[in-house]
Symmetry: C2
Subunit: 325 residues, 2 copies
């Protein structure tokens, strides 16, 4: 079913149908006839033809890298909320932690003439930045630093620093930190460095702290903590880079001490304020980020970038809230 067929059925030109669809000059009478023809035929206009012609898709591509589920869904909610109100649509792609895959997805987005790309939880592959720039497609990176590109992220270093400072640890305490693996600077290096710096402030030296690295799943957190607890060292505190890891840590503590609040068991802290974790164990020290806000801001910046292609890149750092201490 095409433009032209609808036009013939309504006894008008294809240009009139186009005007009907896009709100151009048109007499009421023809408008009605066209509406009837569309209703009758179930006509669905071809976005591809329109995009080919206009070179605008009115669509923003969102690339989601698999990390914290609650963070991801929160950010996406925010993005969607903002764009749904505007005239832009979104097209989400979900990729694993694989650079090849990410590049491939990004290319297919570019091929579809999307007007902008929001990259969530993952820094762009260096080689890809080149393509973005060449294609003159605005990019907003969410959750990570990004050289040469706009970004929205949380102050992970500051949050971790504050968290460490407020744990109530004393200089003689044995503290362990479970790091999140991978090339995610925000979850990884920023939080770890901030945490260690915070501990230092309260008199705990960096090399007194046992740092272990885990993946992103509950099971990864369990394994890392399990290994830690199997040693003879007794820990006073085990801090985790994400709440998901903390959930695994809790499981490990349960395995070794029977219950989480056993007096001999190390205390735990998380990062990210997962609603399920919080509800179930009660407030353990963690950091709360407003992911939806983050998504909204990213969308906002994208719109600004779209309106004024010449503006400089913008970098926004959002705050945090320490909870459960």
């Amino acid at each position: 079913m095409t433009n032209r067929e609808v036009a013939e059925l309504a006894g008008v030109s294809s240009a009139a149908v186009s005007r009907y669809l896009n709100g151009g000059y048109l007499s009421e009478e023809k408008r009605a006839r066209i509406a009837a023809a569309i209703e009758e035929t179930g006509y669905v206009p071809s976005a591809n033809a329109r995009i080919l012609r206009t070179k605008k898709s009115d669509t923003i591509g969102v690339i989601l890298t698999k990390t914290d589920e609650s963070a991801m869904t929160g950010v996406v909610s925010g993005i969607e909320k903002y764009f749904f109100a505007s005239d832009y649509g979104t097209s989400i792609a979900y990729v694993g932690d694989d650079t090849k895959e990410q590049s491939k997805i990004m290319r297919s987005l570019l091929e579809r003439q999307i007007d902008g790309i929001i990259l969530v939880s993952s820094a762009p592959i260096p080689g890809d930045v080149d393509l973005y720039l060449r294609a003159r497609v605005p990019v907003v990176v969410v959750g990570q630093h990004a050289h040469d590109l706009s970004s929205v992220r949380f102050d992970n270093f500051g949050a971790a620093y504050d968290l460490a400072s407020s744990l109530g640890c004393t200089p003689d305490n044995r503290v362990a930190y479970i790091d999140a693996a991978g090339h995610y600077r925000s979850f990884g290096a920023d939080r770890r460095k901030g945490f260690l710096a915070g501990l230092e402030r309260i008199g705990i030296d960096q090399d007194q702290v046992s740092v272990r690295t885990a993946g992103f799943t509950v099971e990864d957190g369990f394994r890392a903590t399990d290994e830690l607890l199997s040693k003879k060292t007794e820990f006073d505190y085990i801090a985790c880079a994400t709440d998901t890891i903390a959930a695994g840590a809790i499981k490990a503590v349960r395995k070794h001490f029977g219950r989480v609040d056993s007096p001999r068991a190390p205390r735990l802290s998380g990062f990210g304020n997962d609603p399920i974790l919080q509800a179930v164990v009660g407030p353990i020290p963690s950091v709360s980020f407003d992911y939806e806000e983050c998504g909204i801001k990213a969308a906002e910046i994208m719109i600004d970038l779209l309106k004024d292609r010449l503006s400089n890149t913008r970098s926004l750092v959002l705050g945090y809230q320490i909870v459960g201490v």
Copy 2:
């Protein structure tokens, strides 16, 4: 940058460039010249022009309705895993529980000539089915019943029945059930009916059971349970329609009884086997579904549908595993 420009730069015809991109007959020499020209110009072919011409986008639209996060991400992982290996791409849209929005998204997918639609966690709007059929776009519904359309879902009734039977309740026990609101038959009616039927089998009559309805968030589960516990009735068991609701219920129990395993506190069961919940509280009775498998099956059926447009709709019901009893 277009086909033609690349062709001129390489000293060949635009058809040759097209062949290069799609693997047609081409001499090694021209192949090399074209590759060089593409590299030099950073040429990105226009998917819209190709789709317009070929009427095939090699893309499957996935509509995600916001429900259980872990279920959603699991299913999406499965879908992506399967399609990534095939020649199809996916385009994910994330919609709230709003029929208007869902219809709008679905239309935009149709406008883009996607080859098929996978609808996750949500039954299609009746009016939309009409459009699908007219557009001859194959649809696979995941997680819900679907009249006239292919579907993949879990045996929620059976799982709830089994769960109820294996809770170890006695006929004199006071049991409450917290239902998931909304028009989701799978989460709602199927689980509730199965659970009540299972209780009946072990001698607990339906009208002895207090049924309350909650939304899909932890907070919703908390409120519903809180209200329940504020009455004078003492419950032996509170069963929840999802693990997210169960997390809220745990919070409420903690509020009323101090701790989850207080002897006076009701016991709890969930549904869905959320990894965080499970790790943190230890195995509470729940049902484990293989969401990724579900996504893979949905993708598989979609491919079959795509290969043979005439085949009948297919309906697959996946099993479950009772855990934590």
